[in-house]
Amino acid sequence: MADFVVEARTDFSNDVSKQPVLEVRDLVVRFERADGVVHAVNGVDFAVRPGEWLGIIGESGSGKSVTLMSILGLLGEGGRVIRGNAWFNGVDLVQLSDRQLRTVRGKDIGVVFQNLAEGFNPYLPIGSQIAEVLVNHRLCTRRTAHRRVIEFMHELGIADAKARFQQYPHELSGGMRQRAMIASAIVSEPKVIFADEPTTALDSTVQMQVLALLTDICRKRGTAVVMVTHDLGVAAHTCDRIVVMYGGVVMEEAPIDEFLQFPTHPYTLGLRAASFDPEQPDRPLRPIPGVAPVLLEAPRGCPFAPRCHMATTVCRERLPALRQTRPEHRVACHHVQGENEHEPYPIP
């Protein structure tokens, strides 16, 4: 793989003994809609270690964002966590009441939203909105908050932070607004940041700037990041570990080097075939046929089976479990057998 991919690594992830800061186990989320129950997340497991960047990739509608929002109790109308745990600091966030959760979200877990237009209140100056995080969570007084926010904005490369503090969201450019969003997520010095497609709304130069800032600032503080994205390039650039999701199920999980060198799951291979690879610039991009399903009933077999070129009867009958294929590399596919039997499939 290209060199630039390898350099952005932290060494935290190699330290397997480190206790995960956030551990999600067997999470199941359903939405009750007028047209039936949508099975958005069907048993997701993952863990993030301190300082680690975990990338969750997959198509739209594969349950990536819902997984994160359900951990924070921000599912919205009709959404409910059916079972599972999200261990954070020795507490199961899923079990917490809304009031208890209020002391965690935004304070110990920061969130960077994708939707820049709606992420900020258009009626309040941007600086005071960031400062509200500190004030509402009773981390410091309004005066100190004001000072700290300006420091943070400065650190995030917002020029003339003092004047920006008083400006309204619509007076800032997209990149500035995203920086401000990052500032509001990180100003309370959380242990984990959920970044929900943080750079999708930005153009690619600003995107790289913002990502560099985010990696930099998180590395300095040892903040773990869970980033949802569907951009393999962005993921390869920044993440330490990748979780591939489809149909609300984890399909593959691997450290980034492993993931880039030995992608295993047919879905992962499909994603790779559909995205640009600088190693093979002439290769035509091939979409995965079909569309991601809206799961109106719990998937019986592998959720990817209807679109998979390798699917057999067993795929449609039984949900494959995540199995270790190589050290730290786990795949949920019936056609991937065991640790030693691994053989990468050709790109379809």
Binding site: R102, G106, K107, F113, G119, P122
Partner: protein, 326 residues
């Protein structure tokens, strides 16, 4: 270009609450109409306060009935020989008081009920909305009349009673708007900022629905005045003019009711003068409402200054720069 840059620099040089207030005021003045409206309403208030001391005493003189406008009676006289200008000026105080208190009470109740229902949802929402259904179902005018008969006919009581029975529409509107704001990234980020329900309601939801509420308020003023006129006329002991005075708790629309029909037989002033004063007042309120919407919304563009020429003069004299681009 350079001019814009300089003025931007001015813009940025001052910040904080002062800057926000200044920008808000400039948005209010954006197209001049709100300022005209504000000036007009202020004038009406002055007339309402000073007028009764300046105009002649209200009298009835049957020998001077239905006279067309003249120097002695600038607005003409009505069917009982009452001076129409006197009647309108004396009705103005009641008009403003009834309209504003009535609309304020009804919008205040409606806004609180609707927003609490919308923001909290669930059981509270269900209870408050059933209450609103009930408020919708009551025959507003009759209940308001009962309240006024018990408390006595006065401008305050008439405004209060109508406000107390007409808040249901506002509650519905406020709830709907609050619901449309509630589900979205914006509120998620407010929750993440550790905001309590109260904080979210006042800082996130209220500003979003404020502009609709302002428009509703202005229409409510008109509606309250109309209803209060009907209320007075519904009073079993209604007498058009008691000793030459409009009945207590009435407003200038009553002049229209008393004599407007006279325009059929050529007494046009009886129709046009009360109607003109009333309509111009409502229009002025609408313009103020537009200005308030602009004032509250920081995303509104700043003025094209065809109305407010004075800052340009000030800039020419070497005062503060003016941002022509807004």
């Amino acid at each position: 270009m350079s001019f814009a840059a300089i003025s931007d620099w001015h813009e940025r040089a001052s910040h904080g609450r002062k800057r926000r207030r200044r920008l808000a005021w400039r948005r209010f003045c954006r197209n001049g109409l709100p300022v005209i409206g504000l000036a007009y309403i202020a004038l009406l208030f002055i007339v309402a306060i000073v007028g009764p001391f300046v105009t002649r005493q209200p009298t009835v003189n049957i020998f001077q009935a239905n006279q067309s406008p003249s120097w002695a009676h600038p607005f003409g006289t009505g069917q009982y020989g009452q001076d129409l200008l006197t009647q309108i000026v004396r009705g103005l105080g009641g008009t403003l008081l009834i309209g504003v208190t009535g609309a304020a009470i009804s919008v205040a109740i409606g806004l609180i009920v609707g927003m609490v229902a919308g923001v909290f949802g669930g059981f509270i929402d269900a209870v408050l909305m059933r209450l609103t259904d009930f408020a919708f179902s009551i025959p507003t005018l009759i209940i308001a009349l009962f309240i006024v008969v018990v408390t006595g006919f006065s401008a305050w009581n008439v405004g209060l009673s109508i406000g107390l029975v007409t808040w249901a529409g506002c509650a519905r509107l406020a709830r709907g708007l609050a619901l449309s704001v509630r589900n979205g990234t914006l509120i998620d980020s407010a929750i993440l900022a550790g905001g309590s329900r109260w904080y979210i309601a006042t800082r996130y939801v209220l500003p979003q629905i404020a502009s609709n509420m302002i428009v509703f308020f202005v229409f409510q003023v008109a509606s309250v005045l109309f209803q209060s006129t009907t209320l007075i006329a519904l009073d079993p002991q209604y007498v058009p003019l008691t000793g030459g005075q409009l009945p207590p708790g009435s407003n200038l629309l009553l002049n229209l009711l008393n004599g407007g029909g006279g325009s059929y037989i050529g007494y046009r002033w009886l129709f046009w003068f009360p109607l003109g004063v009333y309509c111009s007042m409502v229009i002025a309120l609408l313009w103020i409402g537009d200005g308030l919407q602009a004032l509250l919304n920081p995303q509104q563009p700043l003025p094209r200054r065809w109305f407010a020429a004075w800052p340009r003069l000030r800039a020419a004299r070497g005062g503060k720069g003016v941002n022509m681009h807004g």
